[in-house]
């Protein structure tokens, strides 16, 4: 559900980025009141837990695996406002340290996963669990809350993506950002999570809550609910439960964005609204009764087909990209992390299995990969390249300015020029260019291509035919739209990756401090990153230990139980560590503030670079206006 850079137009992400600011401020105030001095370690460990949770592979059906977001689980343990901060910080670290999720889209991602999911889930959980402190009801309530919370977040993400074609398009109907309208994006996102990811979320949340109820019930203690507000939660929950139905049913919530209204408001009818109904009417005339809204049925079928396709393609790509253990670190002559030798030993010891890598191995590999990434970043950031010489604030701000510019540009040619700029910066900063380009094109570009290509079909985007493959006709504006999205995503991902690869984490934190980010936020970020690495070590060892003792194939159910037990263990360890770290801070006279003495200083080169960067961005935007889309 992480929306990368380039899918959302500037109006959408700017609104959501700005919307998150007051939400974070309110959340920080609420948390400060309830957690007091303990907030920094507790939030840091909550964030680290949230991050690490996303690393656990959970078995689903048919040997496939997925991962949970854990937003509702965190909300159940820490409360919804603390979950806002904890999940936001986890998302910031994913974007800033590992390059997952966009920089400009950070507000959108935080809104979906750190606000919608925790609040919907938390209050639904309270409503369903009633006064039951533990037991079956509590566990089922947690599962249902996690499911609904995640689906609600997915629907909101679908709306954000689905609004793009209406907000940004060219005169010829070519989409500039995410190409699918609300009629496809919302049902596709909703169904993907209703059918697939929601169940993972529910299974993980139930498993961890059940394990914690057994071993550490104090973590799950609920304050008595405020009774007069009950009816409000009930109304909220009913609304939420109806939302996915509303997306498909005429005349309710999502139906308000009907064809005439949109045409009236924007003067542009997204082609998919008009087309799909006709297609399915022709395909299955006998099954449609006159009273049923054919267009909506068309969406429903298209969305299901689309979901199956997207999930299938994503899994296939995942399988193709999955390299043998150790292969990951060997890419492009990067220094190989010492731990991969340990991984090789374990790999040699493990029994051969049908269906590729075992669950434990997958997670252990993912964790080892993440840690190798961090060490690699540290190594690249320590080289004396162009970007590394600049003041961290200047580096951060100019690269972000470039990323924003990439989301503003409409012309493919100008976007290609920006991609050339990322390449030049990568070379000048002594980044391993091969792995840089592989990461940018394969993980960001290819994904955008797969997602967007169907939108180039004449069904979705009408216009002069450009390419015919059997029954499929791709239109000119359709293909141009896909190309625009892919180049935009690649350009923005390139700048984001340069931030990640050329910034040492302490430098990034100091840049944030110098940019007047509150101490507590920076301190929590710092501690979170450290604790993530500590927890990842534990998680890797747990999984390698499991791998080394596993001789026979285990059922998916048993695997799932084991994974959730381990997650609960990591949750307990996180909270215990938070207490210990808090003690260590108290022992050294901690009073609530964490200032740092090392402040970056601007030199001549920094000013030159800042001005040059701003001038280049202005030039790019000017050239873009000249070139036209």
């Amino acid at each position: 559900m992480h929306i990368p850079d380039g899918y959302l137009g500037p109006q959408t992400y700017a609104v959501l980025d700005l919307l998150m600011v007051p939400i974070w401020v309110i959340a920080a105030r609420k948390v400060k009141r309830t957690l007091r001095a303990r907030q920094v370690p507790l939030l840091a460990l909550g964030s680290a837990f949230s991050f690490v949770l996303m690393m656990f592979n959970v078995p689903v059906i048919g040997g496939s695996t997925g991962h949970a977001v854990g937003a509702v689980l965190i909300a159940i343990i820490l409360g919804p406002w603390a979950a806002v901060i904890a999940v936001s910080i986890a998302l910031v670290i994913q974007a800033g340290l590992f390059g997952d999720g966009g920089i400009t889209a950070l507000g959108a991602n935080c809104f979906n996963m750190a606000v919608v999911a925790p609040f919907v889930g938390y209050y639904l959980h309270r409503l369903l669990a009633g006064d039951a402190p533990s037991g079956r009801r509590r566990i089922v309530a947690a599962g249902a809350a996690a499911y609904v919370g995640l689906v609600a977040a997915a629907i909101v993400a679908g709306v954000e993506l689905g609004l793009q074609p209406y907000l940004n398009h060219t005169a010829s109907g070519q989409a500039l950002y995410a190409p699918y309208g609300l009629g496809v994006a919302v049902p596709a996102m909703a169904l993907e999570h209703i059918l697939f990811f929601g169940w993972i979320e529910a299974a993980v949340t139930m498993g961890v809550v059940a394990a914690l109820a057994r071993s550490e019930p104090a973590l799950l203690e609920m304050k008595p609910a405020a009774r007069p507000l009950r009816w409000l939660w009930a109304a909220l929950a009913v609304l939420i439960l109806l939302t996915p139905i509303g997306a498909l049913a005429p005349g309710t919530a999502w139906g308000e964005w009907s064809v005439p209204q949109i045409k009236e408001a924007i003067g542009y009818v997204p082609a998919d609204f008009a087309r799909l109904g006709g297609v399915w009417k022709a395909a299955m005339p006998g099954y449609l009764t006159p009273g049923v809204n054919n267009t909506l049925l068309g969406y429903l079928v298209a969305a299901i087909v689309g979901t199956v396709l997207v999930v299938g393609i994503a899994l296939a790509i995942g399988a193709l990209l999955a390299r043998p253990p150790g292969g990951r670190a060997a890419v492009a002559g990067e220094p190989r992390a010492p731990r991969s030798r340990r991984a090789d030993l374990a790999a040699a010891a493990r029994p051969a299995r049908r269906g590729g890598r075992s669950l434990a191995r997958k997670t252990a590999d993912a964790v080892a990969g993440a840690m190798a990434d961090v060490l690699r970043n540290e190594d690249v950031a320590a080289r004396r390249g162009l970007l590394q010489r600049l003041d961290p604030r200047v580096r951060l701000l100019t690269l972000m300015l470039f990323a924003v510019t990439a989301t503003l540009v409409h012309s493919i040619w100008v976007l290609l020029a920006l991609i050339a700029v990322t390449l030049a910066l990568a070379v000048a900063s002594r980044v391993a260019v091969a792995s840089f380009e592989r990461k940018v094109w394969l993980s960001a570009g290819l994904f955008a291509l797969v997602i967007a290509l169907p939108s180039a079909l004449a069904w979705f985007t009408p216009g002069p035919a450009a390419l015919r493959l059997g029954p499929l006709t791709f239109t000119e504006p359709g293909l141009l739209g896909v190309a625009t999205l892919v180049t935009r995503v690649v350009a923005a991902a390139g700048f984001a990756l340069l931030v990640v690869w050329t910034m040492r984490w302490p430098d990034l934190l100091r840049a944030l401090t110098a940019l007047r980010m509150p101490d507590v936020v920076v301190a929590t970020l710092a501690m979170t990153q450290k604790q993530i690495l500590a927890l990842l070590t534990v998680v890797e060892q747990i999984h390698l230990a499991r791998e080394s003792r596993t001789l026979a194939r285990v059922s998916a159910g048993a695997d799932r139980d084991w994974v959730t037990e381990r997650m609960a263990f990591v949750a307990r360890k996180s909270m215990k560590t938070a207490e210990d770290v808090h003690d260590a801070m108290l022992s050294r006279g901690f009073t609530g503030a964490m200032p740092s003495l090392v402040r970056p200083r601007m030199g001549g080169a920094d000013w030159v670079w800042t001005l040059a960067g701003m001038a280049l961005c202005a030039l790019v935007l000017f050239a873009d206006r000249l070139a036209g889309p």
């Binding site: 060490l375 710092a526 450290k530 500590a534 003690d583 050294r588 006279g589 003495l597």
Partner: protein, 309 residues
């Protein structure tokens, strides 16, 4: 903040006085009970006991992190209570006087790099930037970690982490150092370095209280050993010679156990200590790892002190 009424009294008072102290994590299950203990200024005290006897709890109590369920603790002549520590002047004074080195360096190193780690305490004490920098530089020199200052903690080795952790306490210039299992997770050479550091602190008149189950480290570093039993009571208190020769007692509190092994063709039994490879009671040619390194050092085989890489 001005002069507070409750500043710790003149140094004539012992650093810590514990009277009938009991601590319970949950009702009924005591983690410490009936503890009477006085620690005078400049003493080096080792608190020994098997796992789970309450050593860490005792140390945390001396640091004002946990508080007795019953009984009283006085620090520097004044009662050490949760309420007293709420008072800013008292808290500042107490935190500056007492430093706690945690067993797990990972818990203690919570800043983004070593410099911030060393500066954290002085900054919390409200010192000027120049003073903070001076203290960081001095502590870094004392512990030979000048080259590590810009490194994030996760790139440090275990021994380096311990040095940074200790340096981050030293910058606060504490009179009393509380060390939880200081020799665990250290290789023999770093253990020797640590014992040398403790000897320096003894010359400087600093009080040291260390919790350990490493009897050889206790024997070398402490001038007084107190023993906690598995019933969470204090069962012995004396010089290392007095305590470590009470074989029956050490067997009873599970610090040593009977051990059978073979030398060439003859099997024999003797008491055996668990620790970082040391055996203070062995009298038949078993030398501890530490003693071995020290002998080698005397003959010039091993560098005198490990320098930072």
């Amino acid at each position: 903040m001005g002069a507070a009424p409750q500043t710790p009294a003149a140094p004539a008072a012992p650093d810590f006085e514990l009277t009938a102290v009991r601590h319970e994590y949950r009702a009924g299950g005591a983690s410490l009970t009936g503890i009477d203990l006085t620690i005078r200024s400049g003493e080096h005290v080792a608190v020994v006991g098997a796992n789970g006897t309450g050593k860490s709890t005792l140390l945390k109590m001396l640091d004002g992190l946990v508080f007795p369920s019953a009984g009283e603790i006085r620090a520097f002549g004044l009662p050490l209570t949760e309420d007293a520590l709420e008072e800013p002047a008292y808290r500042r004074d107490f935190r500056a006087r007492v430093g706690y080195v945690f067993q797990e360096a990972d818990v203690q190193l919570f800043c983004s790099d070593a410099f911030d780690e060393l500066a954290f305490g002085p900054i919390q004490l409200g010192l000027s930037e120049d003073e903070v920098r001076r203290r960081v530089r001095e502590a870094a020199e004392e512990l030979h970690i000048e080259k590590l200052l810009d490194r994030p903690p996760y790139t440090l080795s275990g021994g380096e982490k311990k040095r940074v952790a200790i340096a981050s306490i030293i910058t606060m210039r504490p009179r009393v150092l509380l060390l939880d299992e200081p020799t665990s997770a250290l290789d023999p050479r770093s253990q020797v370095w640590l014992l040398d550091l403790l000897a320096d602190w003894r010359r400087e008149g600093r009080t040291v209280v260390m919790a350990t189950h490493d009897l050889s480290a206790a024997a070398e570093a402490a001038d007084r050993i107190v023993v906690l039993s598995e019933e969470h009571t204090l069962v012995a208190d004396g010089t290392p010679e007095e305590v470590l020769t009470q074989r029956e007692l050490l067997l009873a509190v599970n610090l040593i156990h009977e051990h059978t092994h073979r030398h060439a063709s003859t099997a024999h039994r003797h008491a055996h200590a668990h620790g970082a490879g040391a055996d203070p009671l062995a009298t038949h040619g078993h030398t501890s790892a530490i003693a071995e390194v020290q002998q080698q050092r005397a003959s010039g085989g091993v560098p005198a002190a490990p320098t930072s890489p």
